[in-house]
Assembly symmetry: C2
Homo-oligomer: 482 residues x 2
Amino acid sequence: MKKVQERNVKGITAEKDEFSEWFTQIMLKADLADYTSVSGCMVLKPGAYSLWEKIKEEVDKRFKKLGILNVYFPLLIPEKTLMREAEHFSGFTPEVAWVTHAGETQLHERLAIRPTSETLMYESYAQWIRSWRDLPLLYNQWNNVVRWEFKHPVPFLRTREFLWNEGHTVYASKKEAEAEKDKILKVYKEVCEDYLALPSLVGKKSKKETFAGAEYTYSMEFLMPNGRAIQGPDWHHDGQNFAKAYGIQFLNKEGKQEYAYQNTFAITTRMLGVMFAVHSDAKGLILPPQIAPHAIVIVPIYFEDSKENVLKNCRALAVVLKKYGAIIDDRDTYKPGFKFNEWELKGVPLRIEVGPKELERKEAVLVRRDTGDKEVVKLKDLQKAIENKLEKMQESMLEKAKRLLYGSIVECTTLEEIRQAIENKKLAFAPLSGDAGVEDELKSRMNGAKVLTIPDVQPKSKKKCAVSGRDATYWAYIGKSY
Amino acid sequence: MKKVQERNVKGITAEKDEFSEWFTQIMLKADLADYTSVSGCMVLKPGAYSLWEKIKEEVDKRFKKLGILNVYFPLLIPEKTLMREAEHFSGFTPEVAWVTHAGETQLHERLAIRPTSETLMYESYAQWIRSWRDLPLLYNQWNNVVRWEFKHPVPFLRTREFLWNEGHTVYASKKEAEAEKDKILKVYKEVCEDYLALPSLVGKKSKKETFAGAEYTYSMEFLMPNGRAIQGPDWHHDGQNFAKAYGIQFLNKEGKQEYAYQNTFAITTRMLGVMFAVHSDAKGLILPPQIAPHAIVIVPIYFEDSKENVLKNCRALAVVLKKYGAIIDDRDTYKPGFKFNEWELKGVPLRIEVGPKELERKEAVLVRRDTGDKEVVKLKDLQKAIENKLEKMQESMLEKAKRLLYGSIVECTTLEEIRQAIENKKLAFAPLSGDAGVEDELKSRMNGAKVLTIPDVQPKSKKKCAVSGRDATYWAYIGKSY
C-alpha cells in the first residue's frame, strides 16, 4: 500500500505518458478508489461507485425495456456443477478461488466463488424450462465475481474481484437467439458513447479469443491513452453447447424434445477505469457531464464583508441548478484557488465562480473542466449557457476520444508494418488468414499483440494474410491488450 | 431438491398452520425463489428479486437524503484483518466460509468471505480519516454476505448467503453518533410499514443479544404467523470499540488525537420472507400494492366472436393503467379460471376482468386479492376505484398484520405465565432483571425462548423479575425466534 505521506500530496505529479503512475494517482487523489489489504482487490469509493450506479441504472432501464428480468443466484458453485461444461471449466479453473472450509469444518466438496454463473444458472434453467411456452427466458443479474488472476493487477482494469451484469438468455431457435445480439450491443454502445463518452471498435472475436464455451463472441474494444486496447462489454452466442452439457431441453410446438439456444452478455466496472484513463489530464479527472453525479460546482468568492450576500446568492443558485446535481463548496477553511484545484482534480465538468463583483454586474463566471475555457455569463442567461456548455462538453469529449481511437489505427499488410504500428503504440488493421496457427505466430512474433476484433463491415480489397502470406480470411484489428 | 413432479402441481396444497410446508410451497409455486445445488443457498427469481429492488430503491433514496454515500468494498477479508476486534471475530468465526486456494495454488493466508464488513472497512477508514474535517463519514454498501450457519436453513429467513445493506458511519462525538439512531430506524420503519405493510416491535437488545463488537443494538422484531419472532433491520452503536481495534483516530478542533465513534445498520432479504409469510394465505401469495411491481392484472374473457373487441379494450386499459404496472394475461392457451388461480397464487393485488358483457355495459369487474371482494365498476370510474382499492388494501394489510402482532402479546409476571404464552405461540411481555444469569435461565427453562427486545417506552408499574424474583430492570418482549 502507498505510504500515507505520498498519498496526501494534492495534485497529480505524474505526466499522462507515465501511464501507470499517473493512473494510480488519478485513482487515489481524485478519491475514486483505494487499495485494500486483499491483494488485487480494491475499494470503490463514492466517487467511483456513484458512476457505476449510473451505468447500472442506464443499462438496466434499457434491459427492462427489452423484457429482461433481474434475478440473483448464489455466489458459490459446487465443483461438480462447475465441471459439467469441459471447455468452459478449463477456461476458468486456473483462476477460481476455492472455499474449502466453513468455520472449523472441512466441506465435503469444494465450492468455487463464481468467476461467472453459467454453470449454476443453467442447472436451474434445466429444471425451469419445460416447453416452448417457457421461452424465451431472459434473465440477468448484477453481482460480483472473482477471478484470481496471477497477472499484475491494475486498479479497475484488472482486479481479482469486479462488479458486472451477467445476462443469460435462452431461446427456442438459433435465429431468435442470434437476433438478440444487435439489441444488446446497442444498449452497451449507447451507454458507453452517450454517458461515458467512449467510442469503441465493435466486431467478432477470432476463434482463439472466443469466450470459453461460446460458439462466437462479439465485443467492444476500447483504446487506452497508452496505446493498449482493452475489451469492454461483450455478447456471446453459446449455440447449444451449455444446453447439452446442462440438459436444457424443451418440448417444441410439435411435441418434440429439443435443446435450447443460449446467449450471455456483460458490462463490468472495468469501464470506469477506461473512462478515467481516456478522459483525464495532468490536472486530474475529467467526467463526462452525462455521467457526473455533480455536473456543477459553485465556488463562492468573498471577503468578510461580502460573505453573507455571496453565500445567499450561491445557495439560491444551487437550488435552481439542482437537476445538474450542483454542489456549493462553502468551506470556510480553504481559499478559492485550493477549491478550484480540488474540483478540477475530481473532474467536475463545470465550475461556477460567484463573487461580489459578479453579483454587482448580475453575472457569474463559468469554467469548463475539459478545455479550461472561462466565460462570463449574465445570471439571466445562466441556465441556457450551462445547458449548452454541458452538451458541448459531452459531445466534444466523445469526439476527442474518437480522434484518439481512429487516429491510432494503421492499415498494415505486412508483419513488419504491424510490428511498427505496435511499437508506435498504435492499433494495426491487417488482413489475416483464419488458420489456427496464424494467431499464435502473430502473438509470439509481435511481443504479445493479438487479434482484438474482426469488424462485420470488411474492406472490399482482398489481400494476402500479413502473417502467413496465404489468402486472407478477413481484416482484423491487432494490438496489445489488457 | 424437490422432485419435479411435486413442484409442478399448481396451487398450494398445505394449510398455513403447517407453516414450513406452506411457506416452501408459496416460494416455489408463486415463482419467488428456488433451491440450488449449493446447500442453504437459494436463487431469487424475478418475482422476489424485483421486490428486493424496490426495497433497495426506497431505502437508498432515504439514505441519500441523509447524506449517506454508497461504496463497494471487497468480498474477501484476510484472516489477520478479521481477527483484530476479538469479540467481533469470535462472534463470526464459527460461520466463516474460508478461501484457501486460488486455482492450484494454496494461498499463504486464508481469506474469509465477508460475513459483514466492519473489519475490512475500518482498516481503510483508519487510513482515510485524519481530522475532524473528515467527519462524519457516512458510507453504506449494498452487497452479498455469507454466514455458513449449520442450523437448518429456511428459504429467505435463514440462508447461508443473503443480500443486505451495511451502513458504517463514523462521528467525532458519541452524541452525534447516537443521534443517528432515530433517523435510520425511521427509514427502515417507513419502508417496512408503508411498502411491506409490516409492523414491528422496536427496542433495544438485551446485553446478551447485542451485536458482537457493539455497545448496544436496536432492532425491529417481527412476528411470523407460526408464532415465532424474527429480527429485521437493526442499528448498532459501536462506541469506540472498533475505532480502538482498528486505529480510527482524528485530530479534533483542539488539535488532539481522539478515537472516533461508530455505528452500523442493515436491512436484509430476510424481510421478503417475513412479508410473504405474514400476508399470504391458502391460495398463495398476497403482495402489498405499494411494493408489487404489477399491482394489477387484466384478464380478458371472451369467446371466438368477441375476442378481438375484448383484447383491444383490455390493451387500451393496460396503457391507461401503466403507472400501476398493469399487465394483461392474453394467453390463448389457458382458460380464465386457470388464470385467476395463477395470479392469485402470485399475489397480484387487484384483478380486472373484462368480457363482452362488461364492455356492453361499459363496466369492468375488480377483484381484491386479500379479501376476494368483487365489485362491478363503470369504466369511467375505474381509475378512481382502483386508486381507492389499492390504498384501502395497503392500509388493511398493515392493520391486519398489526392485529396479528399486538394480539399476540401477553403480559406476564411469572415464569409460568411466560411458559404458557410461548406454548400458545404468543409473545410474552414481562418484567426482567438485567442480571447476567437471568437470560440464560429464561432460555434454558423456556425451551429456547429469549429476550427479543426492550422497548424505550416502559410501563410505569415496577414489578419483580419474572425469572429471578428480584427487582426488575425493565419490561421486555420474550419469544421464540428464528
